[in-house]
């Protein structure tokens, strides 16, 4: 029940296209869902996060869509750029008390010029 399943494992998108990464969780107690972005040779960094009281959150070209009933959330990168090429991790946790982040297995995104 602690798993977060992420797909696809890798993704190639042309410059200007839309990149979509999907995640699914099982634990209905999870109520905080961040996405982390990791460039080669660097540590992950928070990109955007959502709480289940909203169905969508947008920051610039990055949007999280959240479907509470399906226990799924996804990251959409609009107008994808070569600089977006990185590994993306979804994660989930509970926001009450101390709870550990449960990470997905990651998606390696390559945006071709």
């Amino acid at each position: 029940q602690q798993q977060v399943k992420q797909s696809p494992q890798s993704l190639i998108v042309q410059k200007g296209g839309i990149s979509i990464i999907n995640c699914a969780y099982e634990n209905t107690a999870f109520d905080y869902f961040p996405w982390y972005q990791q460039f080669p040779g660097k540590g992950p960094a928070l990109l955007i996060a959502i709480r289940p009281d909203v169905s969508e959150k947008k920051e610039g070209r990055f949007t999280i869509s959240f479907n509470k009933s399906a226990k799924q959330f996804s990251l959409h990168i609009m107008d994808s750029q070569p600089g977006d090429s990185a590994t993306y991790f979804c994660a989930a946790t509970r926001s009450t008390g101390f709870q550990k982040l449960v990470f997905g297995t990651g998606t390696r995104l390559l945006v071709s010029p």
Binding site: G41, P44, F98, G106
Partner: protein
């Protein structure tokens, strides 16, 4: 403000050798974490600490020990390294959730460890 730093950046060990990885943060964060990252397996929590002098086991603690003697430092030790511990190790820190802070974990740049 350096954020989270890790030393060393790279290390090669022989099976059975020991070593300590050092993590330091200058953001006065209460919580600190050690993760390992392996291809296709994402980030797995090894140990974590909710404050100075405290440590707790994460998802994959076997073969590792940790200490948090000072609030800003979190050490990860391998007493007898095994090839299965070849990985990239990341340290992270975050505010205390109980203090109403953000849930963001700030990661260090990682240590690439190879055990032969």
């Amino acid at each position: 403000n350096a954020g989270v730093t890790q030393t060393p950046k790279f290390r090669v060990l022989k099976t059975g050798q020991s070593m300590t990885l050092l993590c330091a943060q200058d953001m006065n964060h209460e919580y600190m974490y050690w993760y390992r990252q392996d291809p296709g397996m994402g980030l797995r929590l090894i140990h974590y600490s909710v404050g100075e002098g405290t440590t707790a086991k994460g998802e994959v603690p076997d073969g590792y020990n940790v200490s948090r003697l000072k609030k800003q430092n979190f050490l990860l030790g391998l007493e007898s390294a095994a090839p299965s511990q070849t990985s990239v190790y990341f340290c992270a820190s975050s505010y205390s959730r109980l203090a109403g802070g953000a849930d963001t974990q700030y990661f260090g740049p990682g240590t690439r460890l190879t055990v032969l």
